[in-house]
Symmetry: C2
């Protein structure tokens, strides 16, 4: 055993440290029993104790139950379940794994902490709500290449939150039509523009044409104004295709690449990270599959750690009072998580920029900043910018005025007295209701 451990340490830097995950579960058999089943399924277990499964092997390789907390009981199962009972106990269980099995591999970590367990017949609910990663992961994975500072540098320097927009209609515009929209938004003073996640390299708007035409506009704009607008081109595709797309972007002087995280997978993201010379804008399309049911899934603060380890520089978190169903408290928790350490003892910090979007206007900018306590975020709006009664230029100005107010700690109403564009926006866009509890934590 010593030999193997020594060899292991030499090979991957695996330590005695453990990965720890917390689940919100429910079981007719009780959460203590269910925790044992879960730990067994996700490490040394099978449905029979086998001859090869010695105590020494268990000690070395088994998952360990670190904590069990009962939180409630119900007379019906939260999810349809094969193993029914008279009542169902709810609770939080914390499980830990030694690194000896999977080292610091993110795909195998996923199969371990978020694998077969969600299908266990003993569980009528299973949600992964917390994850602690030892410093080994920070040493093994390079993390975001750019983060907020690198993103600002890619723009040629920038202060304050990035005011961004999304090309709409999402699909259907030609490359020339897209470039025309970009021209008008650059003239309006925008910092950041992104493709829609539905728009990548389809026949009606090929990426090569779109990059050529958009970057002609933005390179020209940069030359005349000194300001580099970031355009996040959606390069999602097959692995070698994404590498070629990045080369294409670089040839045209593009400064941001977007990927759909769930569509390209963690290894796909890592390839892009290693190949890219520009920040990666991480879009989480499909995230509802993991988050929508309170009874099964993964909390975003858990998943975003893996995406940052694999190299995402920007991460979507929805927006406060958005058109999506996510509660404001969840949005705020996600946004803070993106700026918190991903691993124990991480240095330098692997932080990414949270991206707020969907139904955003001047009303949500200040609250979004207040949630974070800093300007290192991207704030995207569509109708909230170009729907400004005095058009997009005034829309961008109004957003910056809202950002200044937030930075200076004055109310929008106070700021509006000397900021006519903001005043017009406030009169035009209805004030949404934001859950005040987002500012508590």
């Amino acid at each position: 055993m010593n030999d193997r451990n020594t060899g292991a340490t030499a090979k991957t830097g695996a330590s005695q440290a453990r990965v720890t995950a917390t689940y919100d579960i429910e079981s007719a058999k009780g959460v203590t029993h269910a925790a044992a089943v879960l730990a067994g399924e996700q490490s040394t277990g099978t449905f029979l104790r086998l001859a090869g499964e010695t105590d020494a092997l268990r000690d070395r390789s088994a998952a360990r139950i670190e904590a069990v907390e009962v939180t409630g009981r119900s007379d019906h199962p939260a999810l349809p379940v094969r193993e029914a009972g008279a009542s169902y106990e709810r609770g939080r269980v914390t499980i830990s794994w030694p690194l000896g099995t999977f080292g610091t591999s993110l795909p195998v970590l996923m199969a371990t902490i978020a694998g077969n367990l969600f299908e266990l017949a003993e569980l009528s609910a299973a949600r992964l709500v917390d994850l602690t990663l030892p410093a080994d992961f920070a040493r093994a994975h390079p993390g975001p290449k750019f983060g907020a500072a690198g993103t600002r540098a890619a723009m040629g320097g920038h202060n304050g939150p990035l005011i961004g927009t999304i090309i709409k209609p999402s699909v259907g515009l030609s490359p020339a039509e897209t470039a025309e929209l970009v021209r008008s938004m650059a003239a309006a003073g925008i910092d950041f523009i992104k493709d829609d996640e539905l728009q990548a390299d389809g026949p009606d708007c090929p990426l090569a044409d779109r990059v050529a035409q958009v970057m002609a506009v933005l390179n020209d704009h940069a030359e005349r104004s000194g300001k580099r607008v970031l355009y996040a081109f959606n390069i999602s595709g097959e692995i070698d295709e994404m590498r070629r797309n990045l080369d294409l972007l670089e040839r045209h002087g593009a400064a941001c690449a977007m990927v759909c995280l769930n569509a390209v997978g963690l290894p796909g993201l890592r390839v892009v990270r290693d190949h890219t010379a520009m920040p990666i804008h991480g879009h989480r399309a499909g995230w509802g599959l993991f988050s929508r049911s309170p009874q099964v899934g993964i909390d975003f603060p858990v998943m975003q750690k893996l995406w940052r380890l694999a190299g995402a520089d920007h991460l979507h978190v929805n927006g406060l009072a958005s058109k999506f169903t996510e509660a404001d408290l969840s949005v705020a928790r996600s946004a803070r998580a993106v700026q918190a350490p991903a691993c124990d003892g991480e240095a330098p910090a692997m932080t990414a920029m949270p991206v707020f979007s969907s139904g955003q206007t001047v009303w949500q900018l200040g609250p979004s900043r207040q949630v974070l306590g800093n300007d290192d975020f991207i704030f995207c709006a569509g109708g909230g910018l170009i729907g400004h009664p005095d058009r997009a230029g005034a829309g961008v100005t109004a957003m910056r005025q809202a950002a200044e107010a937030a930075r200076d700690g004055i109310t929008l109403e106070e700021k509006a007295k000397t900021a006519p564009e903001l005043a017009r926006a406030m009169a035009h866009f209805p004030k949404p209701e934001i859950d005040a509890r987002v500012f508590a934590g």
Copy 2:
């Protein structure tokens, strides 16, 4: 427009055909309204109708509602939802998309049919239950390189279902201990062995050592017996790492590679498919995230089409009366789907082999075969083989006797009269209850 369309067709072979997806949804606004929101969000829409969104653009690029069927109404939402109402209408809606936007890209198809829609505030349930792909996808994607026929060829020829097992304990065995287990299972006459999804290339059981020691055993066994046992090594990892792992496998004469589909992503799977000279064993660890809640998710018959297009040769479908919570009807539907066409007008057929596993004994083999009507499947058992009272050799023999009975259309009880190993297994393993409806269709 004609120019663009012509160019597009030349580039990717996009046709006038459409992708069609069906969702089971619920909405306080009614399913007809919700269908329009869904189609808008997933194509040309935003929350304001913009100047650029002309009727011509809509006609060309918008998603189309093909069918709406109301199926029920409830006074409470199936999932927590931002847009509440007095009651919630349930129904099935079918949406179609032109190929002009995404061509035949699988990652962008995913972002389209399974993207932001799951988070819409108008939906209190959203599950993707059906998908029809035009022949363009079959032309653009090579599909499984091996399938059932290629898998049998990789074994040097084989008749009947493949009787398989999984190395257990899942983790904790050294390469030498693993090889010893493999030696005993090969001697017992097994056809197929797989790594656990938790075991890949960790410090305690490095892949290179495991491959070397396991293949020394299996190559020796093949030389002496003429029989090639397939061992599916779990090569899941980063992209270039998986390519290197495949090269390693090939150098040692290995004949099967396993990947965790959700952990490596569709583009990762495709890389493995393009690089490999052996069948790909597709493990769906984490599938519960997509399937466990009836209110949100993706039906397996939908998702497996994409995995087959990207190249999976074998696909896990759980087992009848397994230790997992999935209902037998769902297992049967999944297994049949893996052998059905993935696209319209597909030729040759891109079928894969369904893999049954988890808590399987002689009792489930016949019913599994009956569900499919053929022998092109893999039947994995752990305790159900080595737990045979006369040990693993008798366990494998009993499984083959059960397969013969199924093929010949005689009962297990009848077969057991002349098959002592089967008789002993039947006496030892309790007969599980299988939902008889699995045989209906």
